[in-house]
Subunit: 108 residues, 2 copies
Amino acid sequence: MDELLDRATAQTYASWFRALADPTRVQIVEYLARHARPMSVGEIVAAVGLAQSTVSQHLKILTEVRFVLVEPVGTARHYHINDACVDCFPSAADVVMGRPAPSPNGAC
Amino acid sequence: MDELLDRATAQTYASWFRALADPTRVQIVEYLARHARPMSVGEIVAAVGLAQSTVSQHLKILTEVRFVLVEPVGTARHYHINDACVDCFPSAADVVMGRPAPSPNGAC
DNA sequence: AGACTCAATCGCCTATCGGCGATAGACGAT
DNA sequence: ATCGTCTATCGCCGATAGGCGATTGAGTCT
């Protein structure tokens, strides 16, 4: 009775949800979305009140699933929400229906 | 510049997503959903191939957010998907819009 | 009562996570 | 070239998560 969702798909789903499984990352995402313009790490650090290295790490996790996009601007790097990924972010219904998970590294 | 999503809301969102942030739990949820009938722990253990204690722990996490419901039947316990929670499970758009998070312990 | 079954809990171990400070690398300005 | 600024990475730490076996508790059936 091995009729399980294949592990790779399950892993992909899990990595999507893991990106938002931390309250600080949820706050960062909402913050980036509300101020619609691209924002530097320094601004985000000031907003969330954590160490720069910590924020940088969270941003790395968010960019790894393309949920947030980066754009180098001089010495700074501007982060902004990937609206396409907001749309393709999996829902619980997707999981329940066993739909193939949207690739976290593709064009979404 | 403290205009952040309040921590409690962020935490609630995070706990929702953390429930599906593990591939085994994704598989369990999809398995429960596909076989629409309530299933015992033993059946789920046989399906996922992990120790009974491990599966029990995963089911506890899933029931804590009411994503999965339990019903004692004799000495067994039958688990099944909470369709209401499938519907109210937060989307990325909810986070981005800063909508109040659905309470994970309420009636959904 | 006693034996059996099913599932939750406990204790332990390892791996990962989230936080930090310190360091390193890239770039603009002087 | 040098300095200052910005951000990524590294190393460390405590806490949490996921895995397991063993035990306990609750329920059924003789």
